[in-house]
């Protein structure tokens, strides 16, 4: 048995491609915050993690969120901390930005803006896709 197989049996050292697909606006529902928590947990397992932001999910990354007036936690700064957890692959669907009158400069982190076709290709290449 090879070393890789032995590691595999013990569940150690396997790196899978995980993509978290964010489709919900922040604050209106708990999905965005819960998704972010799971992403941060996943960072502890040394996996190949990427995040996709489509539909209303792009609103999670909007600059200038000030939540004092609704007495909710502003979790948007946490997206800037993802880099520190080696989560650097953030993908945003161009059509989602366009439909909402938003541009890449309106987002608080560096992202790769791409077409639906390009994003579909990345999704198809994942081992695990988890939606929020």
């Amino acid at each position: 048995m090879s070393e890789a197989e032995q590691q595999g049996e013990e569940g150690v050292g396997i790196v899978k491609k995980f993509m978290f697909v964010n489709r919900k606006a922040p604050y209106g529902t708990i999905y965005a915050l819960e998704g972010l928590e799971v992403v941060l947990i996943s960072a502890a397992f040394d996996q190949d993690v990427s995040l996709a932001f489509i539909d209303d999910g792009v609103y999670q990354l909007l600059k200038g969120q000030q939540t004092k007036g609704i007495e909710a936690k502003n979790f948007s700064p946490a997206y800037r901390a993802l880099e520190g957890y080696d989560i650097e692959k953030l993908y945003v669907e161009r059509d989602a930005l366009d439909a909402r009158g938003l541009a890449e400069e309106d987002l608080l982190v560096d992202v790769q803006v791409m077409s639906s076709g390009e994003l579909a290709e990345l999704m198809a290449a994942q081992d695990v896709v988890i939606g929020f």
């Binding site: 609103y59 007036g69 909402r100 009158g101």
Partner: protein
């Protein structure tokens, strides 16, 4: 009638249904994720603009600020705080929440 919409126009058709059934002279208040409909340059802008010729449209400022869109509000939409929300509810004979 005060119509209250709290859903994103991209995720649900609550706003669309509201605009279809709201009678001229009514008031529309956008709250929570509904405030995204109040922003400029979106695909919803035209339908809301048209509705504003018949309805008075308001948006809840704390919800706009939380979402980082307070500076993107379309012209003609009046911002209210929680006190303004209460006043709107009191001024109108009845209200309807489009959940």
């Amino acid at each position: 009638m005060l119509h209250i919409v709290n859903k994103s126009p991209y995720e649900r058709n609550a706003l669309e249904a509201c605009l279809r059934l709201a009678r001229p002279g009514s008031a529309l208040l956008l709250i929570e994720d509904g405030v995204y409909a109040a922003t400029r340059g979106s695909v919803c802008e035209a339908s809301l603009k048209e509705a504003m010729t018949q309805l008075k449209v308001y948006a809840l400022a704390p919800d706009l600020e939380a979402r980082g869109v307070a500076a993107r509000v379309m012209e003609g939409i009046q911002l209210v705080d929680y006190g303004g929300f209460v006043e709107l509810a009191c001024e109108q004979p009845n209200c309807q929440s489009w959940l």
